[in-house]
C-alpha cells in the first residue's frame, strides 16, 4: 500500500502487560511487537480476551495500576519511549499527539457538559486558545465530522444526541488537535450498519485530510478489510500473524486466522455448515503449554503442545506457527493455505 517508505511514528517492542490478582498472574499482553507508519492504518484483530484493547490502553498508559502493570517492553512514539514518560508528560501527549476513541461514546463523554465545551477543552488545554476561539474551533470540528447545524448541536449535552452523532462528537474531540496517532478501539461496534458505514467513511476521509496514523482495534473482519493497510492478529496476548491486508484475506497463514475467516457467515454466498473453530479460548490465567492455539488447532502436533513457537519473520510478514518452521513434521503448510483461499474465493 505504498507505506514502506514512510516514517515510523510508533514502535511497540516486546510489550508485556500483566495483571496481578492474588497469586494469579494474568498475562493479558505478553510480548507484542509492531510498528505504525505515518498515515497508515494498522488493524489489531482478535476475539474477546485476546489482549487487543489492553495493548491500546498500554500505549496510552491508561492501565490501572494495581492490578495491572506494564512489566516489560518499549513503546517508542517518534523516538521517545512513552514508558519512561512522566504522568504530566503523558497528559500533554494524550488527546494532543495521540488520541483514542472508544466503543461506547456515552461512557467517554461527560454527561453534564455540552459537547461543544468538551471539544473546546482540548483546544484550551493543549493549544492554550482563549475560550471564545476554542469554542469556534469546536464548532468547526463538529462541522468537519458532518454534524448538521453545528452551532446548535455544540450547545447540546451528549444525551440529546443519537449514538452515531455521539461517535462523531468523539471523533471531533479526538482529532481536534490533529494528533499524529489515533487509536480507535471498536469505534463502530455499538452502531448499526448504515451508521457504521457513515462513520468508517468519515474516518477514512479525515485520515486522508489530516495524515493521521490509525490503529484500528476490532473483531470485525469486514471492518479490517475496508479500513486497514496492515493487520496484526492477536490470540491469548500474543500476535500470531502480522501481514498486509491483502495477504491476510487471500493467503492467511496461521491456522487461527484461517479458522477465523472461515467461521464468518458470508453475505454473498451460502454454505450448509459453517467451519467453526472447535473449543473455546483458554482462560488467561491457565494457558496451555506450548502454542496457546494448539488445543483448538486441527494441525497441532506434539511439538505444538510442548514448545511455544516464535514469531517467524519473512520480509514484512510474520507468523507464530511451527508449520512454517524447519522443525515441522505435520502436513505441509502450502496445501492448507491453498485450501483456505479456495474457500474464500467461493
Amino acid at each position: 500500500m505504498g507505506t514502506e517508505h514512510k516514517e515510523t511514528i510508533l514502535e511497540v517492542k516486546n510489550l508485556k502487560t500483566h495483571f496481578f490478582s492474588g497469586k494469579k498472574v494474568i498475562k493479558a499482553v505478553d510480548g507484542v511487537d509492531f510498528d505504525v507508519k505515518r498515515g497508515e492504518t494498522l488493524g489489531i484483530v482478535g476475539e474477546s480476551g485476546s489482549g487487543k484493547s489492553i495493548t491500546s490502553l498500554s500505549i496510552m498508559r491508561l492501565i490501572a495500576e494495581p492490578p495491572g502493570k506494564i512489566v516489560d517492553g518499549e513503546i517508542n512514539f517518534k523516538g521517545k519511549n512513552l514508558l519512561s514518560e512522566t504522568e504530566e508528560g503523558m497528559r500533554q501527549m494524550r488527546g494532543n499527539k495521540i488520541s483514542m476513541i472508544f466503543q461506547e461514546p456515552m461512557t467517554s463523554l461527560n454527561p453534564v457538559y455540552s459537547v461543544g465545551e468538551q471539544i473546546a477543552e482540548a483546544f484550551r488545554i493543549h493549544q492554550k486558545l482563549p475560550k471564545k476561539e476554542a469554542w469556534q474551533r469546536a464548532v468547526e470540528m463538529l462541522r468537519l465530522v458532518g454534524i448538521p447545524s453545528p452551532e446548535k448541536r455544540a450547545k447540546q449535552e451528549p444525551h440529546e444526541l443519537s449514538g452515531g452523532m455521539r461517535q462523531r462528537v468523539m471523533i471531533a474531540m479526538a482529532l481536534a488537535c490533529k494528533p499524529e496517532l489515533l487509536i480507535a478501539d471498536e469505534p463502530t461496534t455499538a452502531l448499526d450498519v448504515t451508521i457504521q458505514a457513515q462513520i468508517l467513511d468519515l474516518l477514512k476521509n479525515l485520515q486522508e485530510q489530516l495524515g493521521t496514523a490509525v490503529i484500528m482495534i476490532t473483531h470485525d473482519m469486514g471492518v479490517v478489510s475496508e479500513t486497514c493497510d496492515r493487520v496484526a492478529v492477536m490470540y491469548c496476548g500474543k500476535i500470531v500473524e502480522h501481514t498486509d491486508v491483502d495477504s491476510l484475506f487471500e493467503n492467511p497463514k496461521h491456522p487461527y486466522t484461517q479458522g477465523l475467516l472461515r467461521s464468518i457467515p458470508a453475505v454473498d454466498r451460502d454454505v450448509e455448515e459453517l467451519e467453526a473453530i472447535p473449543g473455546t479460548v483458554p482462560s488467561p490465567d491457565n494457558l496451555p503449554k506450548g502454542c496457546s492455539f494448539a488445543p483448538r488447532c486441527p494441525f497441532a502436533t506434539d511439538l505444538c503442545r510442548t514448545e511455544e513457537p516464535d514469531l517467524l519473520i519473512d520480509n514484512d510478514d510474520k507468523v507464530r506457527c511451527w508449520m512454517y518452521s524447519e522443525r515441522w513434521n505435520g502436513p505441509a503448510a502450502k496445501e492448507v493455505a491453498a485450501d483456505v483461499s479456495h474457500a474464500n474465493a467461493n
Binding site: 448499526d192 448504515t194 475496508e226 457467515p265
Partner: protein
C-alpha cells in the same frame, strides 16, 4: 433445500396480523399519556412449519418488540397473533403458560436469563417440570441427553452458570428451550454476544437441532451474515414497519426496497476482491414517537418523491413470495 421448502410451506405455524405495539409516554403533572412510541405499527407476516424466518433491521426498528409481543412478554396494543390456529392475544395468562411450552425463546445474554443459584441440572429439570413434559423419574436422564445434544458433557450437569463461558451458556439456553419440546423457538439476537469462532459453533448447532426436532425458528438479528446463513426467508423492518419480505436468495440478490439495498450495501465486505458500490444513507433513523408522514423511509431515501412524502406504501407482492413496501418497487431491481 428448495424441495424441503415447498413441502413445509403447506402448514402455517404462526400468523401475525396487523400487530401493533404502542408504548405510552407519560407526562405532565397528572402523569397522563401525552404520546406514544409506535414501536411496532401494523406488522403482518406468516411463518410455516419447519422453516427459519429472520427479522432484520437496525436498533429501534421494532424487531425485538415484535418477538416480545408474539410471546406476550409485553402486551400488544392491537392485532392478532395466531399460533397453531389459536389467537394468543385472546388467551388468559394461565392459558398462555401452557402455550409457551410450544413457543420458546432464547435471548442474547444467557447469563441474565439463567438463575445463578441453580445448577444447570436443576434449571433444566424445572423447565421440564412446569408442564410435566417429562415424568419426574426421567428428568435427570433427559437433562443429560439434552446437554449432550447441545455439545456439553454429562459432568456439566451439577455446575452453576458462572462456571461456563459465553458460548457454553448459550448452549445451556438452547438446552433449556428444548427441554419442553417446543415447536417454535424465537431466537432474539441469540448469537450476537458471541465471538465469531464460537458463534459459528452455535449456528451450526441450531441448524442441526432444527433437523432433528423439526423446529421452526423466528430469528431476530441485526447481523446480515448470520441471517443469510440461518434463514429460509427474511423480513426487513424499518421504524416499526415491514418494508420487505422475501426468500433469502431473492432478498440478497435482488433487494427491491431502497432501505434493504442501503442496508445490504453498508455491510463491510471481508472479501477484498469484491469492491462494491456503497449507498451511504444520510442522517439517523427518525423518532418512532413522531414518525415521518407517508413512507417512513422517505427522509433518508435517495429516491424519495412527493408521492412518498404523502402516501404510505402498502406491502405489495412482486411475485415468488417477494413483497416490498415501496411505491417504486416494480421499477427498482
Amino acid at each position: 433445500m428448495s424441495a424441503t421448502l415447498t413441502l413445509t410451506k403447506e402448514k402455517e405455524i404462526l400468523q401475525v396480523k396487523d400487530l401493533q405495539q404502542y408504548f405510552p409516554i407519560k407526562g405532565g403533572v397528572f402523569g397522563r399519556t401525552v404520546n406514544h412510541v409506535k414501536a411496532v405499527d401494523g406488522v403482518n407476516f406468516t411463518i410455516y412449519e419447519g422453516e427459519t424466518v429472520s427479522i432484520v433491521g437496525e436498533s429501534g426498528c421494532g424487531k425485538s418488540t415484535t418477538g416480545r409481543a408474539i410471546l406476550r412478554l409485553d402486551e400488544p396494543t392491537g392485532g392478532e397473533v395466531i399460533f397453531q390456529g389459536t389467537n394468543l392475544l385472546s388467551k388468559s395468562k394461565r392459558e398462555m403458560r401452557s402455550i409457551r411450552k410450544d413457543l420458546q425463546v432464547i435471548f442474547q445474554d444467557p447469563f441474565a436469563s439463567l438463575n445463578p443459584r441453580r445448577s444447570i441440572g436443576q434449571t433444566l429439570e424445572e423447565a421440564m417440570g412446569i408442564l410435566n413434559v417429562v415424568p419426574k423419574a426421567n428428568r435427570r436422564r433427559r437433562a443429560i441427553e439434552l446437554l449432550e445434544q447441545v455439545g456439553l458433557k454429562e459432568e456439566h450437569i451439577d455446575r452453576y452458570p458462572h462456571e461456563f463461558s459465553g458460548g457454553q451458556r448459550q448452549r445451556i439456553g438452547i438446552a433449556r428451550a428444548l427441554a419442553v419440546e417446543p415447536k417454535l423457538i424465537i431466537c432474539d439476537e441469540a448469537v450476537s454476544a458471541l465471538d465469531v469462532s464460537v458463534q459459528a459453533q452455535v449456528l451450526n448447532l441450531l441448524k442441526k437441532l432444527q433437523k432433528e426436532y423439526g423446529l421452526t425458528y423466528l430469528f431476530i438479528s441485526h447481523d446480515l451474515g448470520v441471517v443469510r446463513h440461518i434463514s429460509d426467508r427474511i423480513i426487513v423492518m424499518y421504524l416499526g414497519k415491514v418494508v420487505e419480505i422475501a426468500e433469502k436468495k431473492s432478498l440478497f440478490d435482488n433487494p427491491r426496497h431502497p432501505y434493504t439495498q442501503a442496508l445490504l450495501s453498508a455491510i463491510p465486505e471481508p472479501n477484498r476482491k469484491k469492491k462494491k458500490e456503497r449507498i451511504i444513507l444520510k442522517g439517523d433513523v427518525p423518532s418512532p414517537i413522531d414518525p415521518p408522514s407517508g413512507c417512513r423511509f422517505h427522509t433518508r431515501c435517495p429516491l424519495a418523491t412527493d408521492l412518498c412524502r404523502q402516501s404510505d406504501p402498502e406491502l405489495k407482492s412482486l411475485g415468488e413470495g417477494h413483497q416490498a413496501a415501496c411505491h417504486y418497487a416494480e421499477a427498482i431491481s
